[in-house]
């Protein structure tokens, strides 16, 4: 790994952007709340990959610290979102996001 040829940072950026927008497409197109949540996790991880790549490029480990914070926030978000899914399922017996629109106004 030490003597590996250099990978341009643009490659990391492109990979991260493509994965991020795969996640965006998943949230927009899919109607299953669990798959939408997993797409959100994909977006978190794409952002994390960019944190790690820039951190490595500049040899500054603040990127590592903030990737760690993003992982924490993602864990909290997943826990709360799954609790909401379980609560909605208990009351509605159906967790299609098109049906769960009581807060639409």
């Amino acid at each position: 790994m030490m003597n590996a040829p250099a990978v341009p940072l643009v490659d990391y950026i492109t990979l991260s952007s493509v994965i991020f927008f795969i996640g965006v497409a998943g949230v927009v197109v899919r109607r299953n709340p669990l798959i939408m949540l997993m797409s959100i996790e994909l977006m978190f991880n794409a952002a994390n990959l960019l944190f790690m790549a820039f951190s490595r490029a500049w040899l500054q480990n603040e990127g590592h610290v903030f990737a760690f914070l993003v992982i924490t926030v993602a864990a909290a978000e997943a826990a709360i979102a799954l609790a909401i899914v379980v609560t909605v399922f208990r009351t509605a017996k159906n967790v299609d996001v098109d049906d769960v629109a009581m807060m639409k106004g």
């Binding site: 940072l9 490659d11 927008f21 997993m38 480990n61 990737a67 967790v95």
Partner: protein
Amino acid sequence: MITFWVLAIVMLSSAVWCVSAKKPVYSVVALLAHFAALAAMYLTLNGEFLAVMQVIVYSGGIMILFVFVIALLSSGVAPFSVGPNRMPRIGPPAIVVTLVALGGVTYALARAAVVTPAISGSGSRLGPVGEANVFGSVADFGHALFTANLLPFEVTALILMVAVIGVILLAGDKSASAPSRKQAADVRREMREAILRGGE
């Protein structure tokens, strides 16, 4: 270089599979493959602590949570509608908007990257993965986390506590969480009677 492209292909294909899978369980499997490849890519970027955290927190924690919720919700009934999409026309415009945004973001970030050196194996603070006190080692990461970035770390603790309280409030068993006034009165009366009986 070859490592990067192999991992990139694994990550992209598993991401597409995750988003397009029919059943959420397949999405979980795809996402696990994605996270494994991502952890390997963190290792190639000298982020050894983050690679381990990725495996423990994501693959070991969050994905297991997803699997539990899927198992819980799909026992007996089918909670997810399998009928046609209620909004079938959203697909093409959504994909177009997504591609345009993808191009814009990639262009902007790539312009920012022009001033940045490429990811290469040279640098004064670099050493093999696993060695102490080089860039990305646990000692290096811990020093950065507990000195300059202590406040974000404490905020993280607060976020986790709020999340735990929120999950208990949302999904906790309401009847078991707090005894009702009547139950408390019953317990008090039984205790009083037991004490009176013991005194005779």
